[in-house]
């Protein structure tokens, strides 16, 4: 039987916490950017201007048909070169975190845009008609009438996607960036305690994601009850 030895975890907690901060940083920046850029993509896709709609559709379909692993490989290859040539960075500057953030943000915005598009389309057409009858422009109708309603309905889905995104950030392990999972792996590898550290990492992810998804579920219920009345 395997002898468990959990003693390397307590001492490693500060290091693991540093890793968790990186995971959260990537998640939060990708959610914020993803929602903003995703909204723009969704509006472009629904816009009457054909080239804009084509661009958005191409962008979304491309990112949705490539594995995240591949997207990250691309970004770890290209972004450092671009950043260095634009900003004249010292070749030794560590830009892996920036590359990861940009990669996740651009990738996730494709998924966010699909959620937001569905949200916008769920708002009755009559609302847009009413807005334009009141003399609002398309942009005003979107900003003041359609989007506020769409976002209210979308919040649970956007949060669920954020939980998925948080789980996906573990893939930055590929770039040897010490996010939470990368940190756990490093500690386990160093102490020869990979089994314990991997199980610990799994438990922590489970706890966070399960708690978060329960909160989202509760919020969804509240929202539904509110809409029903």
């Amino acid at each position: 039987m395997y002898d468990f030895d959990w003693s390397s975890i307590p001492g490693a907690l500060p290091f693991l916490w540093e890793g968790m901060k990186i995971s959260l940083e990537i998640t939060v920046s990708a959610v914020i950017f993803g929602v903003v850029w995703g909204t723009l993509l969704a509006m472009m896709r629904l816009a009457p201007v054909k080239p804009l709609a084509w661009f958005a559709a191409g962008y979304v379909n491309l990112f949705r048909s490539i594995p995240l692993v591949m997207v990250l490989l691309w970004f770890f290859l290209i972004v450092p070169q671009l950043l260095r040539s634009f900003f004249n960075l010292d070749p030794n500057t560590d830009v892996r975190l920036t590359s990861a953030m940009i990669g996740f943000a651009l990738f996730e915005s494709a998924y966010y845009s699909e959620i937001i598009r569905a949200g916008i389309q769920s708002v009755p057409k009559g609302q847009v008609a009413a807005a334009s009858a009141l003399g609002m422009t398309y942009a005003q109708a979107m900003r003041l009438v359609v989007l506020p309603q769409a976002f209210r309905n979308m919040v649970p889905l956007l949060l669920t996607q954020a939980i998925v995104l948080f789980q996906d950030t573990s893939l930055v392990y590929m770039s040897a960036l010490a996010d939470f999972f990368g940190a756990a792996y490093k500690v386990g590898d160093r102490d020869g305690r990979l089994v314990e550290l991997l199980l610990f990492a799994g438990a922590v992810y489970f706890f966070i994601c399960f708690a978060a998804s329960q909160l989202v579920r509760r919020y969804q219920k509240k929202l539904n009850a509110h809409v029903a009345h």
Binding site: I66, P67, D168, V195, L198
Partner: protein, 246 residues
């Protein structure tokens, strides 16, 4: 930036000489497809079983299935993969783990871990779709089945499932697409599937752009092929009278 494009790299032989770099790409593609299909069969079987369990009246069984889904949905795929590959062989009793580590060749070990991991991971998602499919049926169908003297398993077998499976084909399409994309994660344990072959090619030839473009296009190709096939299946299984039906 001056980059030396060299597309003929794919026709040049690999260092060991037995094939070309194009051959590497093809073998990677083959592994990705085999892995995904094996895992998909597993996910479909397990997911259907769990999906049915989630809807049965027995609190223990439906609770068990719910817990199953939560576990596989709330741990990142990468962590699950590492647990299957690094942790499980250590914990298996009766020397099974040692047999796994010592007697199987490393390629088989990687493939099995990857398949089981993807299978379980995807089965939790399939389970939720199957559950949603069964729950979307009118309640009267189940009652009618029972009233006609069917047992509960018979009601599932002859009344609920034939209908539910036709309804869940469209959502399962996206899960099927996901399994191909998720299989790329398995490159992290050294399994030489498509993404890993792409990285290997970069290491050997220092031609990252050609390699990544080729790999990306192959993933897009898989996507297009699967989507076309599934669209066909969706058309065949569509239920008249339902949304998107004839």
């Amino acid at each position: 930036m001056s980059y030396q494009w060299n597309w003929s790299i794919f026709s040049s032989p690999v260092p060991t000489g037995e094939t070309t770099y194009f051959g590497w790409m093809l073998s990677g593609l083959q592994t990705t497809i085999t892995l995904s299909l094996c895992a998909w069969v597993m996910a479909l079987a397990l997911g259907s079983l769990m999906g049915v369990l989630r809807t049965v009246p027995n609190k223990w069984l439906s609770g068990l299935a719910a817990a199953y889904v939560e576990v596989f949905r709330n741990i990142p795929l990468l962590v699950q993969l590492f647990i299957w590959y690094f942790v499980l062989p250590e914990l298996l009793p009766f020397g099974l783990g040692d047999a796994f580590k010592q007697q199987l060749n490393p390629l088989t070990q990687q493939f099995l871990s990857a398949m089981v991991c993807l299978g379980f991971f995807t089965s939790a998602r399939v389970c939720e779709q199957v559950r949603a499919g069964i729950n979307s049926l009118p309640h009267g169908q189940k009652n009618a089945g029972l009233a006609l003297g069917f047992t509960l398993p018979q009601t599932y077998r002859h009344v609920l499932l034939p209908m539910a499976f036709r309804l869940v084909v469209p959502p399962l399409t996206s899960e099927f697409l996901n399994i191909f994309k998720n299989s790329a994660v398995c490159s992290t344990i050294g399994l030489l599937e498509l993404a890993a072959q792409g990285r290997q090619l970069v290491d050997y030839t220092a031609q990252p752009y050609e390699s990544f473009i080729a790999v990306t296009l192959l993933y897009v190709l898989i996507n297009v092929v699967v989507m076309t096939l599934m669209r066909h299946l969706e058309n065949k299984t569509r239920v008249p009278g339902y949304l998107g039906g004839k």
